[in-house]
């Protein structure tokens, strides 16, 4: 009770069109920034955590636990693990054991062309589809063993910075001068695999002149991680390490934490800049109302009523900006993909992300209004009434 009428707050907005514009634009800026940063960080998190399957364990070279790409183990590990580890899942007589080579390779768009960019290649056998159930063929077919064929992930074009069309089924790409025909496209949404190129294991071994593999991925059924660990410890000669797939990607996620921090810090710094700019105009605008505020208080309105009204006013402007900012984000950011060293991921623009952005804009309107209002109320009523 004892509040100022809402019309007072609403019409005060019109007193200085320039300030109104600055407030709205500032709010738009903050909302776009907060939404982008949040969409980026959440998508990055999701692509790394979504890459792991609960029951998967990765076998890789001892000492290369942080990077599959740097690991090299014997090609025979797959069959030995299949024979020795208890409780590996199998279906229709096929064990869920996937020997893989992971390598970042330059991709050229012509026989003699310079590489257009780098993509992560995964040398695989049909078992790869079993242990990575997130992967679905969307077009064409799987590559034939021994053939120079590849299938291309949905975000691989983004990763390579080429048109999606250019990597359609039937097109070719070149690695080290060797042609690879695209026979299929796949999608593995929200995983690092979405930006990969998959190629038969034997073909990549030839291409990269190696005999071994980078890792073997197992899916456990009745077995436990301890069963895999037991195998690793009993076969010291193979120089293996076992790590749950989830742990591997958690660790990768931790590796990217500084990147995420940088994104946040940049967003917050620009946000603070916006806030200070906004505060400045607010101070000026509210300072010109000192006598008016003194008058309102002389009529008997409590200071709280003035604070509430000025905050209302500021919230109106920032909420308008927040809506505009959210629309801009939905129009411009939705479907945008970002590349990073692990591959690429699509920005995650869902309800919570947009909600967070709007909340940031509105919160700034709230925080931004309070200090100038208190400043405006600083003088005792009798002195405020003398202000010009």
């Amino acid at each position: 009770m004892r509040n100022l009428p809402f019309e007072y707050a609403a019409r005060n907005l019109g007193r200085s069109p320039l300030r109104l514009m600055i407030s709205v634009v500032g709010s738009v800026l903050v909302v776009v920034l907060a939404t982008s940063a949040f969409a980026f960080v959440r998508a990055m998190d999701r692509s790394l955590t979504g890459s792991a399957s609960e029951d998967n364990v990765i076998l890789l070279g001892a000492g290369s636990e942080e990077s599959i790409e740097r690991s090299e183990i014997s090609a025979s590990v797959a069959s030995q693990a299949q024979a020795s580890v208890f409780g590996i899942r199998s279906e229709a007589g096929k064990a869920f054991v996937s020997p893989e080579v992971h390598a970042a390779l330059g991709v050229a768009l012509g026989p003699d062309a310079e590489p257009a960019g780098q993509a992560v290649f995964r040398g695989m056998t049909p078992a790869a589809f079993a242990v990575h159930p997130q992967v679905r063929l969307t077009k064409g077919r799987a590559p034939n063993t021994g053939a120079d064929e590849v299938i291309v992930g949905a975000l691989a074009p983004t990763r390579l910075g080429v048109d999606d069309e250019r990597l359609s089924v039937g097109e070719s790409i070149w690695v080290d001068g060797r042609a690879l025909t695209i026979v299929g496209r796949f999608a593995a949404p929200n995983t690092v695999m979405d930006a990969e190129v998959w190629v038969p294991l034997t073909s990549i071994q030839t291409l990269t002149r190696r005999e071994g593999v980078s890792c073997v991925v197992l899916t456990l059924d009745e077995g436990e991680f301890a069963d895999v660990d037991l195998f690793v410890k009993s076969r010291v000669d193979l120089e293996l390490a076992a790590i749950p797939e989830a742990d591997y990607y958690d660790q990768l996620n931790a590796f990217y934490r500084p990147v995420k921090m940088m994104v946040w810090i940049t967003a917050v710094l620009i946000g603070i800049g916006g806030l200070l700019g906004g505060l400045n105009t607010m101070y000026a605008a509210f300072a010109s109302r000192v006598r008016e505020v003194g008058t309102l208080q002389s009529l008997g309105f409590p200071r709280r009523a003035v604070v509430l009204s000025f905050v209302q006013e500021s919230l109106l402007a920032s909420a308008a900006g927040a809506v505009i900012g959210a629309l801009i984000c939905l129009l411009l950011l939705d479907g945008v993909s970002v590349r990073f060293s692990m591959g690429a991921f699509g920005l995650l623009l869902d309800g919570p992300t947009v909600g967070f952005g709007i909340a940031a804009g509105v919160a700034l309107g709230l925080i931004g209004a309070v200090p100038p209002t208190l400043r405006c109320l600083r003088l005792p009523v009798a002195e405020a009434l003398k202000a010009t």
Partner: protein
């Protein structure tokens, strides 16, 4: 019992090392229904006294009893509520809220009272017609002349039906005809509605409208003249007694 009792009322401001005392041990009684003019040189403490009586400022020392209540003792928020109930303030520069219409300006103080929209409407309409501006209800202050603005401000001051109206140089910024209209209006508030009026003015002709004039100098009452309203007859009493009865 007088409506307003000032006892040894002082106001002190710190200024650097020293202090300023715009009011210095002032004793003054004002009966209900009086129309009192306050005169005195610039800086003599007229506005300071008016603000104390209006509950806008608090005395540094002394007691200020209005309607039996010592308002010097009220907390800031209690004092705000007290102002809303008991005083209407008319300013030299009108102090209307520029983004609100004449109607909304007059309605403002009513928002501090428990009234229905309809009751508020009736009161605002009454107040606006009293000041002769019913037809200007939807005008913004910038669309009104200075004299009209001041009349809207008077409507705002009386709309809650307060006992006391204080006015600080209400005609200070107006031309003669407008000033005359405003003063006629204030006189009617006093004579017809029985409001207790305390008005600061620099102008002896304006003070003539009041039924008594007090003179302040350096925070003290120096003399006061009792005028039989509009008769020009003046009586002077000793300053220390300073009673306006």
């Amino acid at each position: 019992m007088p409506l307003i009792e000032c006892r040894q009322l002082s106001k002190t401001y710190r200024k650097g090392a020293g202090t300023i005392k715009p009011l210095d041990g002032l004793d003054l009684d004002i009966d209900a229904g009086r129309f009192l003019a306050l005169m005195g040189p610039s800086g003599s403490g007229k506005t300071t006294l008016l603000n104390l009586i209006a509950g806008i400022d608090r005395p540094s020392e002394g007691a200020l009893t209005i309607g039996g209540q010592n308002i010097a003792k009220l907390s800031r928020s209690r004092l705000a509520a007290w102002r809303a109930d008991h005083v209407g303030y008319v300013f030299q520069l009108y102090n209307l809220v520029p983004v609100l219409t004449a109607y909304e300006n007059v309605e403002l103080p009513l928002l501090l009272h428990k009234l229905t929209r309809r009751e508020r409407h009736e009161r605002v309409a009454t107040a606006l017609s009293l000041v002769g501006l019913a037809d200007r209800h939807d005008h913004y202050p910038r669309q009104l002349s200075g004299g009209q603005e001041q009349r809207v401000a008077i409507a705002r001051a009386i709309v809650t039906d307060p006992q006391i109206i204080v006015a600080d140089e209400p005609t200070g910024d107006l031309d003669k005809p407008s000033a005359h209209a405003v003063m006629e209006l204030l006189c009617r508030l006093n004579s017809e509605l029985n409001k207790t009026l305390i008005m600061v003015t620099h102008d002896a002709a304006t003070a003539e409208y009041a039924d008594q004039t007090l003179h302040l100098d350096k925070g003290r009452l120096v003399e006061h003249s009792v005028q039989a309203a509009f008769s020009g007859e003046t009586a002077t009493t000793r300053p220390e007694e300073g009673a306006a009865r």
